[in-house]
Symmetry: C2
Subunit: 224 residues, 2 copies
DNA sequence: GCGACCTTTTGGCCGCGAGCGAAATGTCAT
DNA sequence: ATGACATTTCGCTCGCGGCCAAAAGGTCGC
């Protein structure tokens, strides 16, 4: 247990892992810049993360692209943030995290932040999903509703057997939001409909002008 | 994020935290022995864990009793184990963890291991709780059934507002088991009915002779 | 092929922090 | 008060591991 925690415990490695939370692959050099260390140092860190089973690598030409080894690792990292956040903000009234991230961001492969919460709330109000305590389940009515969004939860999605819908604790809103296959499919659909877009090299999500209208109408989302 | 992970990343501190996963308070000297370090070193570690908000302390006479600061910390630790376990056992066919722990143990303040899974399965079969994907909810029928066990989920339980029932991933069985207020109440009831007992200074749980009969009849649990 | 580029390996420096013994602090028992 | 015990603080040593510059692998474009 200590071995895994030790890997995350170094600031440079933690920054790299945090960057990989966007579920996209990053080259070694890119991660070196993000971590603020030389390429040599970064390479050493990445080797450790690889040996520790926290990340996986895909060699492509002269680049080597690193990504988190599994959704479990992503969940672990978000869990760490959930424990960390209250400690940091305990003595600070002003939000320490950039507002763009609080507003809308990706959490591994699904949406989080105010936008993620707004969508979750709407699906609950619709009766599309049901939440008891901290648990989420998709209803039959929900499957039909999602069909209109061209989302078929029963379609094979490549990444083997994976829970259809899982709660994921949002560390900025302190509430669970949609994760699992449903969360991933929603993010994908919103992206390729052009309602939202990724922001440069950040996990932040930007709402496009056409997206603003659609998201307000369908999910009652108003930018904060 | 790195700060919290760094604290767990030291073997001595990890051992201490692991010991505290039984949700009981441990004196500083006891934790020093468990971690295999001197009292002076242990004191330093405990101070760090305290400053980091991972543990809380209660001074009682000349002893100082340490415990985990919150259930969230316990969840984080179990999450770490879930990521760690597969890495360790990947190249080992034989179980590395003592069988007593796989059989029945406490997981913070509820039951885990084969016994915990057996109880969870029975409650699902009864229709007392419902599991969708990885989510658990208590049904009305479940509340009545629990009433026969003298468990009232609506009774105030001291520890403020806390989810009635939460899934908790079992790192030895790789399946979710009952946690939350329900899990805690079940453990408490089984203990004070004398069906199970804590084992010395371990998280292992021993089934008593009268308990063996009751657990087989009610939950279909057969010792492995 | 050759040069440009990305990445990893090697070697060496250096600081953080884990470790202990000894002393100090605080608490209980008599 | 005095001694026994639990814990913390202090001062110190020492090794692990992060860091970089330089060199070595690989891969692509020309």
């Amino acid at each position: 247990m200590a071995a895994v925690a030790r890997l995350i415990g170094d600031p440079a490695r933690a920054n790299m892992l945090d960057a990989m939370l966007d579920a996209q692959a990053h080259s070694a050099g890119e991660l070196a810049t993000i971590a603020g260390v030389s390429a040599a140092t970064a390479s050493g860190h990445l080797r450790q993360l690889l040996d520790g089973g926290l990340v996986a690598v895909a060699a492509q030409g002269r680049h080597r692209y690193y990504r988190l080894a599994s959704p479990e690792v992503a969940r672990l990292l978000e869990g760490l943030m959930a424990v960390t956040a209250p400690l940091v903000t305990r003595h600070r009234a002003t939000p320490r995290v950039p507002n763009a991230l609080r507003e809308a961001r990706t959490c591994y492969d699904h949406l989080a932040g105010r936008l993620g919460i707004a969508i979750t709330d709407t699906l609950v109000a619709n009766g599309a999903v049901r939440i008891d305590d901290n648990n989420i389940a998709v209803t039959d009515h929900g499957r039909a509703w999602l069909g209109e969004m061209a989302i078929d939860l029963d379609a094979p999605r490549g990444w083997g057997r994976r829970p259809v819908c899982r709660p994921c604790l949002d560390w900025s809103e302190r509430r669970p939001h949609l994760a699992g296959v449903l969360g991933a499919a929603l993010l994908e659909r919103l992206l390729d409909r052009g309602w939202i877009a990724r922001v440069d090299g950040s996990r932040a999500i930007r709402v496009t002008p056409p997206g603003a209208a659609e998201l307000r109408r369908r999910f009652g989302y108003e930018p904060g």
